[in-house]
C-alpha cells in the first residue's frame, strides 16, 4: 500500500536499469565502472568519513528483522533471496559481535502478516547462528507486516536502561506491508523511545521505509547485487554515533578469572560444577571443573561475555573490551598517491607484494610513519587490523595513547 503511493507498481522489474544508473553516477564520468570498484570506493570513502575519537554508543542492542514473505523465494539473489540473506547475516553476526563485544542482538522474522521472535536479545553469537540455521529452512509465505515486527522489537527495546543504544535493522524483500493499524503512530513511538530503524530493501525504494529510516535517524538502502548487499549490511557493524539523548553511565562490570581445570593444578582447583549458561539446555550441559566464575556470586559460565543470571553483573574479559578500543583510537586514513610504473618502487611495506601498473592505480602512504602500502593492505589495516604495521615498528609511533 505504501509503495503504491508513488504510482510505479513494477518498480523492481526495472531493477537492472537502476543498477546501471547507479554505476554511471557513482563513477564520475567513467563508463567502465564495475560493481567491485564501486564497493572499493565506498569502503575507502567510509574510512575517510570515520572521525577519530568520536563518541560512540558501544553497548548496542539491535533487533534484526528478516522478511520471510512469499517474495523472499525469488531468485534475483542467488540461490534465493532467503538463503542469500541468511548467508550474509551469518557473516554479519560474527562481525557484529567481534566489533561490539558487549552488545546484544535479537532476531525477528516476518511472514503471513505476523512477526515471530526466533531469538531473544542476547550477547551470544552462537545462539543467533543456530536460530538463523532454522530460519534458513523455514518456508516463505504470505505478506510481511512491518508494524507488527516493529512493535515486537520495540516492546523489548524500550525496557532497556537509558544508556543502551537501541536499533532495529530490517531486511525487506517485499514492496508492501500488511499492517493492522496506522504505522505512522508506531514510527512516532519509535522516535520517542530513541530507537533507530534502518532498512535494507532487496526490491526497490518504498516510501514508508524511507520515511521510517528518516524519522528515526536510521539508514535506508536498496541492494544492487549480493556484494552490495553485504556492504550495506556491514555498515551496521560500525556503531552509530551515540544519539544525543542517550544517557552515559558508568557500568559495574565483573572480570572473572579463567580457571582451566587442567590436571596438576591441585591447590586452588575448583570443584566440579554445572555452568549457568547451559542450564536451560540440559542436553548441552557439561559438568566440568574449568570455566569463568562470577567475582560477585561465584556462578560459573563457560563463555564470556555474559550477564550473570544470578546477580545481574555483566561479565567480560579485558580483551573483550580491548577489542572495542580501536573505535577510540582508529588508524588515520592513508594518503592516496598515484602509482607510476616508471619509478623505482619498493614492494608494499607490509605484504611485500611488488606493485604492477595493471593492478595498482594508486598506492597509499601513512602520514605518521611515511611507509607505503598497497590497496589491499590499506583496507586490511583500516578494517581488520586497526593498527599501522609501519607505526608499530618504531618506538616513537608505536603507542596509540598520547
Amino acid at each position: 500500500m505504501a509503495a503504491e503511493d508513488d504510482g510505479k507498481e513494477y518498480r523492481w522489474e526495472t531493477g537492472y536499469e537502476k543498477t546501471w544508473e547507479a554505476i554511471k553516477e557513482d563513477d564520475d564520468g567513467l563508463l567502465d565502472g564495475s560493481v567491485a570498484e564501486i564497493i572499493q570506493k565506498a569502503k575507502r570513502k567510509r574510512m575517510l568519513e570515520r572521525k577519530s575519537n568520536a563518541r560512540l554508543g558501544m553497548m548496542r542492542h539491535i533487533f534484526v528483522v528478516i522478511d520471510l514473505s512469499e517474495c523472499m523465494a525469488d531468485q534475483d539473489l542467488k540461490p534465493t533471496r532467503q538463503i542469500c540473506t541468511i548467508k550474509l547475516l551469518n557473516a554479519f553476526i560474527e562481525e557484529f559481535f567481534d566489533q561490539n563485544p558487549i552488545s546484544q542482538m535479537g532476531i525477528i522474522v516476518m511472514k503471513n502478516k505476523r512477526a515471530e521472535k526466533v531469538s531473544d536479545l542476547t550477547g551470544t553469537a552462537k545462539k543467533h547462528i543456530k536460530a538463523l540455521h532454522q530460519v534458513e529452512s523455514m518456508p516463505c509465505g504470505g505478506e510481511p507486516s512491518l508494524q507488527n515486527a516493529l512493535e515486537m522489537a520495540m516492546r523489548s527495546l524500550k525496557m532497556l536502561p537509558s544508556h543502551a543504544s537501541r536499533e532495529i535493522l530490517i531486511i525487506l524483500g517485499s514492496l508492501t506491508t500488511c499492517d493492522p493499524g496506522d504505522i505512522n503512530q508506531t514510527i512516532n513511538e519509535l522516535k520517542e523511545h530513541v530507537i533507530q530503524c534502518s532498512l535494507i530493501s532487496l526490491a526497490g525504494e518504498v516510501h514508508i521505509c524511507k520515511a521510517l529510516a528518516k524519522a528515526t535517524g536510521g539508514q535506508f538502502g536498496v541492494v544492487l547485487d549480493d556484494a552490495h548487499f553485504k556492504d550495506l549490511l556491514l555498515l551496521h557493524v560500525e556503531p552509530p554515533p551515540a544519539a544525543a539523548k542517550l544517557e552515559p553511565a558508568l557500568i559495574k562490570m565483573g572480570f572473572p578469572h579463567h580457571v582451566t581445570g587442567a590436571v596438576g593444578q591441585s591447590k586452588d582447583a575448583p570443584m566440579l560444577a554445572i555452568c549457568m549458561c547451559h542450564l536451560d539446555v540440559p542436553s548441552e550441559c557439561k559438568l566440568s571443573a574449568g570455566g569463568y566464575f562470577c567475582p560477585q556470586c561465584n556462578s560459573k559460565y563457560c563463555e564470556l561475555p555474559v550477564e550473570c543470571k544470578a546477580c545481574g553483573l555483566t561479565l567480560a574479559s579485558a580483551p573483550h573490551l580491548a577489542r572495542s578500543y580501536h573505535h577510540l583510537f582508529p588508524v588515520a586514513p592513508f594518503a592516496e598517491l598515484p602509482f607510476n610504473a616508471g619509478d623505482k618502487n619498493d614492494p608494499c611495506y607490509s605484504c611485500q607484494r611488488s606493485y604492477s601498473a595493471s593492478k595498482d592505480k594508486n598506492i597509499y602512504k601513512c602520514g605518521r610513519c611515511l611507509q607505503i602500502f598497497c590497496v589491499d593492505c590499506d583496507i586490511f589495516v583500516h578494517e581488520t587490523l586497526h593498527m599501522c604495521p609501519g607505526c608499530a615498528s618504531h618506538p616513537s609511533t608505536t603507542s596509540q595513547l598520547k
Binding site: G57, L385, P389
Partner: protein
Amino acid sequence: MDTSEDLTESSLLVVVLDVGLSRATTLRNDPALAGQVLEAVIAFSNAHMMMRLKNLLALVACDTETTEWIYPESKADMSDLRQQDGQHELFNELERTVRRKIAQLLKRSAGSNSKGESMLSGALGRALCYVHRMQQEERQLNARVLVVTANGQSVSQYMNFMNVFFTAQKQNVLIDVCCLGPESSLLQQGCDITGGQYFRPPQPQGLLQYLLWVFLPEPLLRNKLALPPRVKVDYRAACFCHRELVDIGFVCSVCLSIVCKFSPICTTCHTLFKTPGTLPIKPKRKKAKLV
C-alpha cells in the same frame, strides 16, 4: 591416493624473530646464545620446508628500533621457487638470505644502545598482512605464526597486541610463542585467543629440540600429541587509573574505559555521569495503540 591432496595443500609458517635476545636478563650471561638461536631458527625453517612440497615460509625480524622483512625477498618472490629439483637451492637461498639480512639488521642496531621494548607488535602486524595476501592468492592455505622472543612484556604496545591477536583469530591463524625470557602473560593471552601453543623452554641451549618437538607439528596433528598443557590465563582487566588488575570495575558506556572506583567524570572521554550503580528500569506503559 593421498598424494593429490598433499599437493594442493600448503602450509605457511611466518617466523617472527626478536633479535634483541641478548637484552633479556636471563640470557645476558651467555653471549653465544643469540647465535645458537639463529642457527636453531634456520634449521627449524628448513625442517618446515621439508615437511611438504608446497610449504611456504616467511621470516620477519625485529629489535628495539625497527622491524625488518627478512624472507622471502620480493624479487625472489617473483621467480618460481618451487622447481622440482630446486629444493637444495631453495634451502641454500633461504639460509644465505636470512644470515645476510639478520647481519645487516644487527649491524644497524649495534650503534644504538636502546633498552626499550622490542617492536614485536609491528613485526606481527606485517606478518599478518603477508598472511592476508597469501590467503587471497592461494585458496587452500593453512597459516600460522611462530614468535621467538625474550621480551614479551610490552605495556606501551598492549593495544597493538590485542589488535594483532583478534586479527589472527579472525584469519584463522595460530600464534605460537617460544619465550626465551621471563614469562609473558600478554603473549600467553595471544596464544589462548588464537589457539596457539605457548612454551618457555627450560634450557634455551636446547632450543632446536624444543622447536622441532613443540612447534613443527601442524595444528591438526597437535591434538594427538602430548604437548605442554595450557596454562591458566589471567584475563582480569587493568584499570586505566592505576594500571592495576581488578575483579570488579566500572566501565564507561561511551568509551569503555575501565576504572576501579566510581567517578562522576570519565578521564578518557570526559563524559559526565549522573547516577552511580545500576540504573533503574522504568517500564512506561503506553496507551493502547491500535484500535
